[in-house]
Amino acid sequence: IAGITQAPTSQILAAGRRMTLRCTQDMRHNAMYWYRQDLGLGLRLIHYSNTAGTTGKGEVPDGYSVSRANTDDFPLTLASAVPSQTSVYFCASSDSGGGGEEQFFGPGTRLTVL
């Protein structure tokens, strides 16, 4: 059982380029999340999805977009990367998205924008 997988593991990207971070879960969870983690700032929610076909904005959504075409996949796209988007990105999922339930996290993607 893989749980949540993220790809790539790490990436160096030139500013202005487009980049999609991939996230796949095999737990049939309805809710999925994208966080960024920066030193001294902890984890901040970028976007989330309650269920396939729906998405919502978190605390820091600017510069990012997401889609949820099916239950398993929740890609995060940076349309035109900027250096301030250098961060570690974590994808997570939870069963139904209600009741403050446990989130399961992927291993993260380390992104550097130059």
């Binding site: 700032l41 902890g42 901040r44 989130q103 993260g108």
Partner: protein, 113 residues
């Protein structure tokens, strides 16, 4: 907004009890309080969750006072392997938007021999 505040770092010795407090003055009525543990180069991992009073599981206890404006994670008899960053998360109550999920900045716990 249910922002959270935690100490940046704490030190302890093996065998001691560690208490990490998180402040969340603007917690909403239906928000839950959840604690996660994170090791270097890994994603966070669920430890414990509560709504009010006290919750205990096999690894930790969570104390929540009546006003719910703070919570304390208690780790009994820590070992070297408990060295990690601990995050407090507030939000996710039933009926609330998932966009209202706020992690604290994390507390680096270092356990010494």
């Amino acid at each position: 907004l249910a922002k959270t505040t935690q100490p940046i770092s704490m030190d302890s010795y093996e065998g001691q009890e560690v208490n990490i407090t998180c402040s969340h003055n603007n917690i909403a009525t239906n928000d839950y309080i959840t604690w996660y543990q994170q090791f270097p180069s890994q994603g966070p991992r669920f430890i414990i969750q509560g709504y009010k009073t006290k919750v205990t599981n096999e690894v930790a206890s969570l104390f929540i006072p009546a006003d719910r404006k703070s919570s304390t994670l208690s780790l009994p008899r820590v070992s070297l392997s408990d060295t990690a960053v601990y995050y407090c998360l507030v939000g996710g109550g039933r009926g609330s938007t998932l966009g209202r999920l706020y992690f604290g900045r994390g507390t680096q716990l270092t356990v010494w021999p």
